[in-house]
C-alpha cells in the first residue's frame, strides 16, 4: 500500500531519506499534519534537506579531522570508576587515541554483558556474574610451597573461597587430573603436583603454570561488576573474551559487547567493527561532555575500515598506505617512501591535496573543483 507521503514523493520526484519519510507519515497519522498542507510541508522539507546536504568539493576529511581534533584538546586524562569498585576503564583522550590507533588490545579491556529477560533479576544476575568470573588455582590457594626435596608443589586449598566460587574438591580434582594427569593428586585439602623432571628450574616453571590453571568461569575475565541501569541488570567485566561469553546461557548475545574492537572484528567481522568504532568514539566524546557530529565520526570509521581490516590512523595505517607517493613521503620516512616508489616505478597522479600543494597547483577541493570546459570547433567538426 502506498501512503499519501509516498504518492507525494513520486509526484514531486523527491529524494528524501527513509527516516524523514517515516517522520512525515507519523505526523500525518497523528493528525498534527493536515493532508492539505502536505504539499507545502513537503516542499519545505525538500528544500531544507537539499541545503543540509554536503556540497560537492567540500573537504570532508579535513573537517572531520578538525571536528574531532579540536574538542580532543579539551579532553582531560580521566578514568571512569564503576561505582565504588576497583575496576576502572580508560576514557577521555587516551581512549580516543587508543581507538584511532587501532591497538591490538585496549589498555583496560572490558565487556558489557546484557542479560536476557529471564535472567534480569538481582539474584540471577549475581549468580551469572560469579559464574563468568575466571577462577584459577591461584585464587583458591591458601598457601603454596615448593618442595625441592621431592620436587613437587604443595598447595593448601582455601575451602571458603572454593565454595564461594561454586567449586567442589571433586570438580577440582577432575580438572586438575585432566591437565596434569598422573602428576596431580588431591588429598583432603591439599593439592600436590609433581614435577615431570627432578630439576629445580622445571619446578619453578611449573609453579607459574599451576597457578594460572583455569578452573572455571571465562578465560580472561578477572573482575565483574553488576549494575542496574534503568530496569536492566548489566554485568561489566574486566578482561574480554567475546567468543566464550556468547556461549554462556542467560546473556543477550545481540547486545553484549566488548571495547576490544579488534576482537569484534575477529568475532563478528568488519561491519560490526566499523559500527563499534563509531559507537566507542561517540561514547568517549560524549563522556567528556563534547558534542561531535555523527558524520565526522562515521567518516573516520569508514576510512579506517575501508579495505576490510581495521587500519590505524597514522604512519602504520591510513597515512602510510596512501596512494600518492608524495603524500606518503611528506608525512614520515621521506627517503624510504621515495626510494621504494622509484624502485617500483610508481606514478603519482597528483589527485590528492598534499601532492598538489607540494607541486604548487590548485588543489581539487572547494573552489579548485570547477573547471571551464569548452567544446572547440575542431571537435564539433568531427561529429
Amino acid at each position: 500500500m502506498t501512503t499519501e507521503v509516498q504518492k507525494m514523493i513520486e509526484e514531486k520526484n523527491a529524494d528524501l531519506p527513509l527516516i524523514v519519510i517515516k517522520k512525515l507519515e507519523k505526523k500525518l497519522e497523528s493528525g498534527k499534519l493536515k493532508k492539505k498542507d502536505l504539499g507545502k510541508v513537503m516542499d519545505r522539507v525538500m528544500d531544507v534537506y537539499e541545503k543540509a546536504k554536503i556540497e560537492p568539493g567540500e573537504g570532508v576529511g579535513v573537517l572531520a579531522a578538525q571536528s574531532i581534533g579540536e574538542p580532543g584538546t579539551q579532553m582531560m586524562m580521566r578514568t571512569k570508576h564503576y561505582a565504588g569498585t576497583a575496576m576502572d576503564v580508560t576514557k577521555g583522550l587516551p581512549r580516543l587515541i587508543e581507538i584511532f590507533d587501532a591497538r591490538r588490545t585496549p589498555k583496560t579491556p572490558m565487556m558489557t554483558v546484557h542479560l536476557t529477560k529471564e535472567y534480569n533479576t538481582a539474584e540471577k544476575a549475581e549468580a551469572l556474574a560469579h559464574s563468568i568470573k575466571e577462577t584459577q588455582i591461584r585464587h583458591i590457594a591458601k598457601s603454596l610451597k615448593l618442595d625441592f626435596l621431592k620436587y613437587r608443589i604443595v598447595i593448601d586449598l582455601n575451602k571458603e573461597e572454593l565454595k564461594k566460587r561454586g567449586l567442589t574438591p571433586k570438580v577440582l580434582e577432575t580438572i586438575i587430573k585432566e591437565k596434569f594427569e598422573k602428576q596431580a593428586s588431591l588429598e583432603k585439602d591439599t593439592l600436590i603436583i609433581k614435577a615431570p623432571k627432578k630439576v629445580a628450574s622445571v619446578l619453578q616453571k611449573l609453579r607459574g603454570e599451576v597457578l594460572k590453571t583455569h578452573l572455571s568461569g571465562i578465560k580472561g575475565v578477572t573482575y565483574v561488576v553488576i549494575q542496574k541501569e534503568d530496569r536492566n541488570y548489566m554485568v561489566y567485566t574486566q578482561g574480554t573474551n567475546l567468543p566464550d561469553i556468547l556461549n554462556v546461557k542467560g546473556i543477550d548475545p545481540k547486545k553484549t559487547k566488548t571495547n576490544d574492537i579488534k576482537e569484534i572484528e575477529r568475532v563478528f567481522g568488519i561491519e560490526a567493527a566499523r559500527h563499534m568504532l563509531v559507537e566507542e568514539t561517540k561514547d568517549t566524546l560524549k563522556d567528556a561532555g563534547l558534542v561531535v557530529d555523527y558524520r565526522h565520526v562515521s567518516l573516520v570509521s569508514d576510512a579506517m575500515c575501508a579495505d576490510g581490516a581495521i587500519k590505524a590512523i597514522g604512519r602504520h595505517g591510513i597515512s602510510g598506505s596512501k596512494a600518492s607517493v608524495l603524500a606518503r613521503a611528506s608525512f614520515e620516512e621521506t627517503v624510504k617512501h621515495l626510494l621504494k616508489a622509484s624502485a617500483y616505478g610508481e606514478v603519482d597522479g597528483l589527485k590528492g591535496v598534499v601532492e598538489n600543494i607540494i607541486v604548487g597547483q590548485v588543489i581539487a577541493l572547494g573552489t579548485g573543483v570547477p573547471e571551464l570546459i569548452m567544446k572547440t570547433e575542431e571537435k564539433k567538426s568531427k561529429k
Binding site: 573537517l63 604548487g360 572547494g366
Partner: protein
Amino acid sequence: MKSQIPDETKTCDVYCNGKFIGTHEKPKELIEELKKLRSQNIISPEVCIAYDKKGKVHIVSDAGRLLRPLIKIKNGQPMLTEEHLEKIKKGEMTWAEIVSRGLIEYMDAAEEENTLVALNETELTNQHTHMEINPFVIFGICANVVPFLNHNMATRVTLGANMSKQGIGMYCSNYGIRADTQRHLLTYAQKPIVKTKGLDMVNYDKRPSGQNFVVAVIAHGGYNMQDALVINKASLERGLGRSVFFRSYKAEERKYPGGQVDLIEVPDKEVRGYRSEECYRYLGDDGIIEPESIVGEDDILIGKTSPPRFLEVIEEFGMSVKHRRESSVNVRTGEGGIIEKVLLSESLDGDKLVKVKMRDPRIPTVGDKFASRHGQKGVIGFIVPQEDAPFTESGIVPDLMLNPHAIPSRMTVGQLLETIGGKVGAMSGRMIDGTAFSGEPEADMRKELEAHGFKSNGKEVIYDGITGERLEAEIFIGVVYYQKLKHMVVDKIRARSRGPVQILTRQPTAGKAREGGLRLGEMEKDCLVGHGAALLLKERLLDESDKTTVPICTQCGLVAVYDKFRDYSYCTICGENVDITFVEMSYAFKLLLDEMKSLCIYPKLLLGEKGGL
C-alpha cells in the same frame, strides 16, 4: 623521622662525601652522636648527616649543597625560645652563636628526608624534629614577590611569580656606566606600598620593578574587555610606566695575519659594499657617531672597513686592485633612539674597541603589557584623557581601569587585599606588610580605612568623566603595585609586502630581524583546505612564495635549459629537437626533484593538460 632509623642492624654502610668509609652496627647511635657533636660546634654546622632509604648513612661536607636553616624542636618545644630572641634584640647574641649552639640547624636535601618539619608553632607535635623560622620561607624569592599570596589560587601565584621576572625595573644603580647589550630601565620605579618580608630580604626596595597605580575595578566603554587595560593619559604624561631601552653596539679593530687590520673610520666611497652617503651622516671624523644624535634603523653607528677577504683579487680587467670591505656597525632594523654614550677601550688582544650605547625612551602606548603581582596581566587597550576618565568624590582619577571580569574566575583575592592595603598605606603614609600567612589582617586594614573616612570595603562613589553623572554602582578603587613587562609593541610590530628570500628554497625568510614573512603553517593550511579556499591557498603557498617557471623536456620529463640570450631552450639529455614546455611550480618542488636525482631517483614529469592525467 627519627623512628625510621633502626637502633641496630647487621652492618650499616657509612659514606663520607660519597666515599665508602666503613660500616657501623648502630646507625642510630652514630647519627645521634654526630649530630650532638655538630650541635656543640665540634663538627661544622654545615655538615649534614643523613640516613637514606637504602639504609646507608651519609656524612656530607662538600660544596654545592643548598642548605636552609630550621629551628630545632625538642620534645615538641622549639629550642629557640623567647629568651634567646630577647637577647638577639638586645644584641647580646648573634646568629652565628645560635647556629653554633645548635638551636638552628642547617639542612640539606638529604638530611631533610629524615626530618618532620612543622610550618608554625600551632601544629607542633612530639614527632616534629624541626620548625620553619617563618612559614613564608616555603616559597621562593619570586613567589614571595606576591603579597597576600596565601589568598590566591596556586596557578595565579605561579603566573605572577613568573611574570615578575619580566617586569622592567631599576635593575642596578650603576646602569649609567654599564654597556649592557640590551636592557630596559623603568624611569620612575617605586617601592611597593604593600610589601612582603621576602621582598625586604632581597632588597627589593632598592631595586624595585614597578609603580603604585591607583586602580579602579571598572569597565570603560569596552576598551578594557578581555584583560585589556585602560590607562590615564595624564598619568602617562606624569611619567607613569615610562621606561628606557638601552642597546649597546660594539666594533673592534681586529688584526689579521699578514699585517692587515680593520680600520674604524668613515669609509671611503671606493670601499666595496659602500652604502648610501646618508647612512654615514652622523659619523664624526674618527668614524664614530657623535653622542646625542638621533638615529633610526640602518643608520651607521661605527664606520669600519676590513681588508679584502681574498688577497690579490683579480678584477675584470685583469688588474689587481685591493678594495677594502665595508664592515660598519649599523642600528638594527626596526630600532632607533638617541646615542647615549660612546666608549673607547681596548680588547683583551690589545685592539681598539668601540662601544656605542643607544637609548630609546618608551612611553606606554596601546598594546604595551602591564601586570599586577597576582598574575593579572593585560595590554593597554585605550589611553583615556584625564578629563574623560571617571573620578571620585575627592577628585581622584584612577591611573588604571581594570575590568571587573578579570577577578571572579581567577580568584585573585590577594589583589583585592592589596588594593585595600595599598589604599591604607597611601593614606596613612606607611608600608603595609603583605607577607604570606602573616600579613596584616584584613579587619585591621578595613578599620584603618574607615578611620580615614573611606568605606571599609574600599568602594567609592564615582562620577562619569564625560557626563559628570554619578555612577549607580560604587566602584572598588585602591592602590595596586603594577609592573611594566618587557613586551612592548614597538619591538614586535612588523609588516612585509616584499622582502628577502632564502637562497636555497627561494621562500621568504622568517623572523622579524630578517624582515621575514609570517608563516602559513600546517594548521593554517588545513583551515584553508577545510574552507575549500583552493585559490587562496595556492596564492599563499605559491604565488606569494616561491613560484618559478621551469622549462621541462616533454621527452625525458626532466628540467631543461632555457638560454635567455639566444631565447631558445634545449634539453641536456635529449638535445635540441624536443618539445620543451614551461611549467609553473614551487621552487621547493624543483629542489625536491634535484634532491631526488642526487638519490639516484629519476623523477620523470609526465606533462598534460589540467585534469588530463
